[in-house]
Subunit: 317 residues, 2 copies
């Protein structure tokens, strides 16, 4: 089978033998995968990654302990938790200290003809949900995670900074939740996608509003974005940190302390709410697909995905 291999910032295609399925794991055949900013960060050295990346996928179950899974079209939670610790008992396997993470931490990823994942991580893609859309389940789940961490009242004004892939999903998820979302970005045509879900887009030129929002989400992926987000948050307000940036960020802690701002780090989320939103057609993902290549063209696909302003690039399995 062919697999994508990432090492020292270089993406290549490797020929490997089909993986063995450990007990409790399903053997999956890739149908569709998405290239995420985290994959690009891994390429830039985040986690000192080496191996097969990929964690946004839709696959067909080829083999599994439970025969009911075989032949099903599935998505899957990317954290492989121990299932025994306190975190797992609380339903927070995403924080299990022993976890590995599909295509990110010590478990070969989905950019491969075949790969494995624990059966308990799988969710069936609803029959009417297009494969191209189901592949967005993981990033939509990451957006939904915000609502699990922060109580945002319906009708509350929320600012989302950044109009990249994650920013567009976050603004839509929050708008569908009922918040009044104002999204600040750099690209009119990207903001237009979120506007389909009821978001108000604004191409940010010059000064951003100061101390203006009780809820701010930083999805810029940049140090400047995070600093701007602090400035936009009202006293006693909440700033959700949603970007993965390699390296350190210099921030002035004084406004955070003086204005008693709460910063909330936010990562992966539960898949079910995301799958529900996608099934109901609430999140405009079709418009976010800007590239499509075969798995064997992954090196070119990574290049395309890294281009400035590019939204989602899919890989066909």
């Amino acid at each position: 089978m062919i697999s994508v291999h990432l090492e020292s910032g270089r993406v290549s295609i490797a020929r490997r033998s089909k993986p063995r399925r450990p007990r409790g794991f399903a053997l999956l055949r890739l149908l569709r995968a998405g290239i995420c900013n985290t994959d690009l960060e891994l390429q830039r050295g985040y986690y000192g990654f080496k191996g097969t990346p990929g964690h946004e996928f839709v696959a067909e179950v080829i083999d599994a302990d439970a025969p009911v899974w075989i032949g099903k079209r599935v998505v899957g939670e990317i954290n492989l938790a121990c299932g025994k610790c306190d975190w797992c008992a609380r339903g927070l396997g995403r924080h299990c200290p022993k976890r590995t993470v599909l295509g990110i931490v010590k478990h070969p990823g989905a950019f491969s003809e075949y790969f494995t994942l624990p059966e308990r991580n799988l969710l069936e893609a609803p029959p009417k949900l297009a494969t191209d859309h189901a592949v967005f389940t993981e990033p939509v789940a990451a957006a939904c995670e915000i609502l699990e961490q922060v109580k945002i009242p319906k009708n509350a004004p929320v600012a989302v900074l950044g109009d990249g892939k994650l920013g567009l999903l976050i603004s839509q998820v929050l708008a569908v939740h009922g918040a009044k979302v104002h999204q600040f970005g750099r690209h009119k045509e990207k903001l237009a996608i979120a506007e389909l879900a009821g978001v108000t887009g604004e191409v940010a030129k010059g000064a951003l509003p100061v101390c203006a929002y009780d809820f701010v989400v930083d999805a810029t992926g940049s140090a400047e974005g995070l600093r701007a987000a602090v400035g936009m948050t009202r006293p006693r307000g909440t700033l959700v940190m949603k970007s993965t940036v390699a390296g350190t960020v210099s921030i002035d802690t004084a406004p955070i302390i003086v204005n008693e701002i709460t910063l909330v780090g936010s990562r992966c989320g539960r898949f079910q709410p995301a799958l529900d939103l996608l099934r109901r057609g609430k999140i405009h993902v079709e418009e976010m697909i800007q590239g499509r290549m075969a798995l064997g063209q992954a090196p070119e696909a990574f290049e395309m995905a890294a281009r400035k302003g590019m939204l989602k690039v899919l890989l066909d399995g």
Copy 2:
């Protein structure tokens, strides 16, 4: 009258005329003041401060609109709020955007024979509470603020980093609240003060525990301290940022996001709970007093307060 004057990092004694009392304000005569780390930060250039500092005080009311105040021994909330805006209506005048702040922002401070403060800011010091102890109301209120912002269950393990003045008050307030407080510091004899209130002190040597506490308070006043505090916080845990540090801090946002940590900036608090704790003798402040000088010796007192490892230095009015 004499006043302390701070300008370009230099502390001097100035002779000024007694301030006029605007309507709604009390004219106060200083009985006792405390030098706070914020005063030392002001000296280092925080807020570009110039004028009379001082915000920890006990005073006698000399004149006021309401005759009942006259002759009373008082402490006072340091934020002078407009009383009309939404923040003020919510009882959060501490965040009023039009506020001035005693001895910090555009209102002459308490390091002066006479000074003024709105009558609504005043609280009477309970007769049995020593003046030396009542002067700690403001920093104890800042410690109490944590409990107003973060729900810390009784018996919850909490780590407090730093054994300076604020750190010792925070650990004691949290211990009195019922938390199991573990305080990491550098000075056995300082930690011993907090231990009187039931805190477990530990002289930090080498590596600190990693991902070990659901609640962490950084009171180190240093960038390294804040970074260490992030590392000590468990996934989904809360880190309270309590230090005022001039300048920016470089932090790695990755562990905050990956572990979904909540950072809470925390500043001033309500005076009443603090005054109650002090009246009930729950907070060991007597042991924290390490220097005492007359107001006219403020330049020497500032020098003493800035010495490494020094706890509270008081000024006698």
